[in-house]
Amino acid sequence: MASLCVRLCSRHIRSGLQVSSYGTHSKASRPQEKSSSGPVFQYVGQHRKPSHKVFVWGFSFTGALGIPSFVVPDSGRKKPRKYQLTPYRLETAEQISSAACGYGFTLIASSTKDVSKLWGMGLNKDSQLGFQRTQHSRHQSYDYVLEPSPVALPLVEPLQTRVVQVSCGRAHSLVLTDKEGVFSMGNNAYGQCGRKIVDDEVACGQDHSLFLTETGKVFACGWGADGQTGLGHHSISSAPVELGGDLSGVEVQQVSTYGDCSLAVSRDGQLFGWGNSEYLQLASVTEATQLSSPRRVPLKGCGKVVQAACGGTQVAVINDKGEVFVWGYGILGKGPKLSESSAPEMIPPTLFGRTEFNPSVSVSRIRCGLNHFAAVTDRGELFVWGKNVRGCLGIGRKEDQYFPWRVTVPGQVVDVACGVDHMVALVKSLL
């Protein structure tokens, strides 16, 4: 075997012709040199693991993308980039395991035990990213954070706790840790949760928060004028209270909310909803425009519901076969003619890449921004559709997209977070 050169990017120029009896350069005269000459390059070892990256795109002037040169260019010749219309790599210090997009700000968290495990960027007028001390004064906080900056969490044991999940709402954010419960920051801060509610998931609506415990109970607090807290009344609740209604006794596996409507999926595949129904999100259950108590939403033809996602005016669910059902108001994903529906409409799986060569492609994750949808298939492809608010879809154009469109991301998409006008994708490289 020839000598092995472990060299990553260099190119070794062949040292002239080895055998050439005629001195000509044509292919016919040069005999085929077998594998005994020349170096063999090794670009990747046998035990290479895929690397994890973060990609961001959308409106950049709030700083939510975390790339300061878009807002304040490095050199005088460059112009500020207002909209990043295609995915752009964000360099992070650690491997990011969870990300969330709020209204003009982003939180990214890594599951490490180090001191800095949570970074925030974007709008910070309501301290949604915690206290970011300025260079000039110890008591002032930055209003706009342009780069991912560490968020200090008042942890009892900072080197033992890990951040499990983050969630962002309009002007507040929630951080779920594995040992010390939930922390909240921002507007209408509902107290520091040092309590030992063992939480599984948190979800932030526009001005309300939902907590899902390990045992499947849902707690809510916050603004309730549309009934989105589901506590049976339309006023503010400042401490988390358990939800009743149709949800009592039901084990919930996932909650989702973004605007004023909330959805919960139980472990046996039933869907429960409460909150705003002005846009026909819950019209199959009620004719009223608001539901203040959770009600079971019977879905015909959907099968067992696995995941649900709530947007501002539209709703999407996936069933166990990986099919996507949408309803509500807005650009639902079935062409410009379908702009509102009260019954679930299935999006044809051919739009997600199912062909006769790949008959088993299915959607594994669905997320909603305020006016758009994002779906991740089991092969790691990201599809987006909906209103393209300031370039948040990432398709390279500023126009709306009326049916699912593939976003070109270099790698396999693991998870995606949708905001109002920007998105964050956690990507695993192919190799």
Binding site: A2, Y43, G335, P348, F357
Partner: protein, 355 residues
């Protein structure tokens, strides 16, 4: 009055496919097929030539009566129509070639004789897909992407597994499917675009970049692997480049050892004529088979139309009706499983009615 050769020529008009071996220019194949057909046509027993009445001078005793000329009547063959004077009846026939194959590749090559060239024109203009089998080998990269080229680089490949290869193929497929949508000249904001995309009918019309509509790995034994691809508007060099790019994505290198077309529109490897079958008789059989399969398709389409009329469905628009027709065409002829342009829907029926 038609001679037997002309009658045989009429039976030879149509489309058929041959198996082109690798290492041979497609023109040589076409020329040898034409020569064999001419041999077959000119070997038919010709009708006896026309006769004419001529008054021949009798060889008599000229010295005795020099002034008298005695003539005898005789029926002699017309010399100007003698085959040795006129030459063989067929000296040239029109043999056309469909989608070409370069010298390195092998596989199904569609040819047309005589009037079949008109149908061949339509066939080439309609957007059909073609199936290829690509043999690849990891470890080397050459300048023309085939194993006969000059080696540019060699690299290791022991990190490559079938799982990684499938991931890379999925990514390439995704990029090509996006290209299908982007090259179709349909306004993305229209309801029609959504409906066509949902059915998988969006695609480029006419000339465009080569696009792979499907790709999968059917054999993986490092360093060798075999890919099966389905593509439109492709060239064989592009397919070899695809193998090269698969190697690059896997952080290794790959060359293409063989490109083999297994299907061109409705013509598959089963219908292709082998080297020893390039004779007039076998070509006639192949063309007869092609005509009968076309008639069967037409019958099935007209039957579908009849059932549509018998059960009038108010919601069936002409769009959907054409779509059921084209599905019948697609499933029968294997043109493509659902990737036909809207123009093709109307043209396919027109093409079948042509001959």
């Amino acid at each position: 009055m038609a001679t037997p050769a002309v009658r045989m020529f009429r039976r030879l008009e149509g489309l058929f496919c041959v198996y082109k071996p690798s290492g041979v220019h497609w023109k040589l194949v076409r020329d040898s097929v034409e020569t064999n057909l001419l041999k077959g046509l000119n070997a038919t027993p010709s009708l006896p030539g026309p006769q004419e009445v001529r008054f021949l001078a009798q060889p008599g005793t000229d010295t005795e009566t020099p002034k008298k000329l005695t003539l005898t009547v005789a029926s002699v063959p017309v010399l100007s129509k003698h085959p040795l004077v006129t030459g063989p009846e067929f000296q040239h026939i029109q043999v056309g070639v469909g989608h070409r194959l370069d010298a390195f590749s092998s596989g199904v090559l569609v040819l047309a004789v005589g009037n079949g060239n008109k149908a061949l024109n339509d066939f080439c203009r309609i957007r059909t897909t073609r199936d290829y089998t690509l043999e690849g080998e990891f470890g080397t990269a050459t300048d023309d992407f085939s194993h006969l080229g000059r080696v540019v680089e060699r690299s290791t490949y022991d990190h490559v597994t079938q799982d990684k290869l499938n991931r890379v193929l999925a990514m390439l497929q995704g990029a090509h499917q996006k290209a299908l949508l982007m090259f179709s000249n349909v306004d993305m904001h229209s309801q029609e675009a959504y409906e066509m995309a949902a059915r998988g009918l969006l695609g480029p019309e006419g000339k465009s970049e080569p696009i792979l509509t499907g790709m999968r790995c059917i054999r993986f034994q490092p360093p060798n692997f075999t890919l099966e691809v389905q593509c439109i508007n492709e060239t064989q060099k592009f397919l070899r480049k695809v193998v090269h790019e698969v190697g690059l994505e896997l952080r290794s290198t790959a060359v293409c050892k063989g490109v083999r077309r297994t299907r061109d529109g409705p013509f598959t490897l089963q219908d292709a004529l082998a080297r020893h079958q390039w004779t007039a008789y076998d070509v006639m059989q192949a063309i007869k088979q092609y005509h009968s399969s076309k008639r069967k398709k037409k019958r099935s389409i007209s039957q579908m139309k009849k059932t549509e009329l018998e059960q009038p469905d108010k919601e069936t628009t002409s769009f959907q009706q054409n779509e059921t027709d084209e599905e019948a065409v697609a499933t029968d002829s294997g043109l493509t499983s659902g990737r036909l342009a809207s123009i093709m829907k109307l043209k396919s029926l027109h093409w079948l009615e042509h001959i």
